[in-house]
């Protein structure tokens, strides 16, 4: 796994050739859950069911719901990772300059929809 693949999975997965149809469906499930959950209807679940078993869909759905809830909460705590991407232990102030002011992972593009305030 690389940062480039994470970025592509966040911002361009729908048109990317790097993801399978199954992976695109799972990524769409996550994006919709955090932004437009009302679009996760029976037709969407039928599409998911073409790629995943019921067990896998419940696993994905519970995982995504849990993460949406907890990441928003943690986002309010203004905490940043203890380590740099290359594994160096840093202060919260330095970590914020890495992950917050100039984030390694994205706060723009499609993910901005998950937290509209981030795009302000």
């Amino acid at each position: 796994m690389t940062e480039e693949r994470i970025d592509e999975g966040i911002e361009r997965y729908a048109t990317s050739v790097a993801f399978t149809d199954a992976e695109k469906a799972a990524l769409s499930y996550a994006e919709r859950m955090g932004t437009v959950p009302e679009t996760i209807d029976e037709a969407f679940y039928e599409e998911l069911a073409r790629h995943y078993s019921v067990e896998e869909i419940v696993e994905l759905g519970a995982f995504i719901g849990f993460n949406v809830g907890f990441h928003v909460f943690f986002g309010t705590l203004d905490f940043y990772p203890m380590f740099t991407p290359d594994g160096r232990l840093v202060s919260q102030e330095e970590s914020r300059s890495i992950y917050g002011d100039k984030p390694v992972s994205h706060l723009s593009g499609s993910v901005a929809g998950a937290n509209p305030e981030a795009a302000e």
Binding site: G65, F66, V72, F73
Partner: protein, 176 residues
């Protein structure tokens, strides 16, 4: 028709029997939660435990957390969790009228304390305008609650909203 078919009751992992009984005694979640999450047995126990501990245990008033739980379920468009009620909260004096006020304009209510209003505001802002939950907001919270209680509330809000969001997408469940 449910988009995810609940397991038959007799297919719920027998090891979850105590959890199912505990949830039934509280009144939430009902056994449909176990029949849905039961598709992933490894998840069920951990997720139930997180929901139960954060809601029914801890130091923050359970009645207040019950109001917050219902408010969040409505916000998540989740009729499943929104339709359930804690028997413990009801036994402790919480009624539907108080839940309605807590789900509505609680700021204008004269019965909620300043601490309760802060907690309700915390839940209300978390998934609508989380940027408003800043240092000054937490500073105000600390005038009412310990840091442990604030973490208890924050984790409770996050766990429950996350599960409500997922369950809300499962159209066709009873109550939908």
């Amino acid at each position: 028709m449910a988009v995810v078919e609940p397991l038959p009751r007799d297919k719920i992992d027998p090891g979850l029997g105590a959890a199912v009984a505990e949830a039934e005694a509280l009144g939430t979640p009902d056994d449909l939660f176990f029949r849905i999450l039961g598709h992933v047995p490894g998840y069920t126990e951990a997720l139930y435990d997180a929901l139960h501990r954060s809601h029914a245990l801890g130091d923050v008033d359970h009645r207040l957390k019950e109001i917050i739980r219902v408010r969040l379920a409505r916000q998540a468009n989740d009729p499943y969790f929104a339709g359930q009620r804690s028997k413990a909260a009801k036994d402790a004096g919480l009624d539907e009228a108080r839940i309605e006020v807590g789900c509505g304009d609680f700021e204008a209510d004269s019965q909620f304390t300043a601490a309760e209003k802060w907690a309700l505001r915390y839940a209300s802002l978390m998934f609508t305008t989380p940027k408003k939950i800043d240092k000054s907001f937490y500073d105000e919270g600390k005038t009412h609650y310990t840091e442990a209680e604030i973490m208890e509330l924050g984790a409770f809000i996050a766990f429950h909203y996350g599960m409500q969001l997922f369950m809300g997408t499962l159209k066709g469940l009873p109550g939908s």
